[in-house]
C-alpha cells in the first residue's frame, strides 16, 4: 500500500514536469526579442508583477513588468507607467499566453528602466 502510494506520487511529480510553463522567464521566447511600442491603455501597479496593456498599430499586448518594489527602486513609478503614456518595451513574447510579453527593459519619457 505504502509502496504503491510512493510510486503514484513519483508518477504524479514526473507527469507534472512535462506540463507547459505559465510563469517565469522559462515560458518566454528569449531567442526572438521583440520591441512593443504603443500607448498604455491599462496599468496594474500590483504584485507579484506590474502589468501594462499596450496598444500598438496592429494589436493589444499585455506586457509583464517587474515586482512593485523593484519598479519603485528603479524609478518606474505608477506615474511613469500611467495610462496614456507612450512606452517602448523590449522583451520576449510568451510561448503560452497569446499577445503577452515580458519586458527586459522599458523606455518611457526618454527613461530606460531595466526590469530584470
Amino acid at each position: 500500500m505504502l509502496r504503491k502510494l510512493t510510486l503514484s506520487l513519483l508518477l504524479m511529480i514526473g507527469s507534472g514536469a512535462t506540463v507547459l510553463a505559465h510563469h517565469g522567464w522559462g515560458s518566454y521566447d528569449a531567442s526572438k526579442p521583440i520591441t512593443v511600442t504603443g500607448s498604455i491603455e491599462a496599468s496594474k501597479y500590483e504584485n507579484p508583477h506590474a502589468t501594462i496593456t499596450v496598444k500598438t498599430t496592429d494589436k493589444v499586448w499585455t506586457v509583464t513588468l517587474a515586482p512593485v518594489s523593484r519598479m519603485q527602486g528603479r524609478g518606474a513609478s505608477p506615474e511613469l507607467v500611467a495610462v496614456g503614456k507612450t512606452v517602448s518595451a523590449y522583451g520576449y513574447s510568451s510561448n503560452v499566453e497569446k499577445d503577452e510579453m515580458r519586458a527586459e527593459r522599458i523606455t518611457i519619457d526618454g527613461k530606460t528602466i531595466e526590469m530584470r
Binding site: L2, L5, M12
Partner: protein, 163 residues
Amino acid sequence: MLPEAPQILIALEQSGLAAAIRQSTWAYPLANVSHIMALTLFAGAVATMDARLLGAFAAAPPADVVRPARRVAMLGLLLMAVSGSVLFAAEASHVAMNPVFQIKAALIALGILNALLIGRALGAVLDDAPAFQPLPARIRLAAALSLTIWISVAACGRLIAYF
C-alpha cells in the same frame, strides 16, 4: 483572472482583501519570505521527527524527540498556511488552475493524513518505546513516506512559478 477557475476563487481574487495584497508594496514579498521561513521551521521539525522514527538519534527515547518536534511542526504548518493563504488569495484563480499547485495541494492532504495515521499508530507505543530499539516497521515506513511527501510538497511549491 482565469475564467475557467471555480467562481468562488475568482471572487476571492477579485475581493478587496486580495487587491490590497497585490497593491501593497510589501504584503506579497513579506508573505513570500514568511512562507519560506515557516518552511524551514516545518521541514526541520518534520525531518527531526521522521529521522527519530526511522532510527536516528537512537540514544534518545522516541517520545523525547517526537513530541516536541511534532509541536514545532504543527506551528510551522500553521504559519505556512497563514502566509500561503496570502500568496494564494492574490492570484487565486491562476494558482488554483496551476497543475503543480494541484499536485501540491493533494500532497499536503496526503502528508497530513499520513501524519495523523502515524500519530494514531504511535499513540499505543510511543510512551513505552525505549531508546536503541527500532520502532515497528509500518511506523518507519510511514516516516519515510512522510519525508518523501513533504520534500515533494516543497519542490512543488517552488515549481508553481515555472508551470
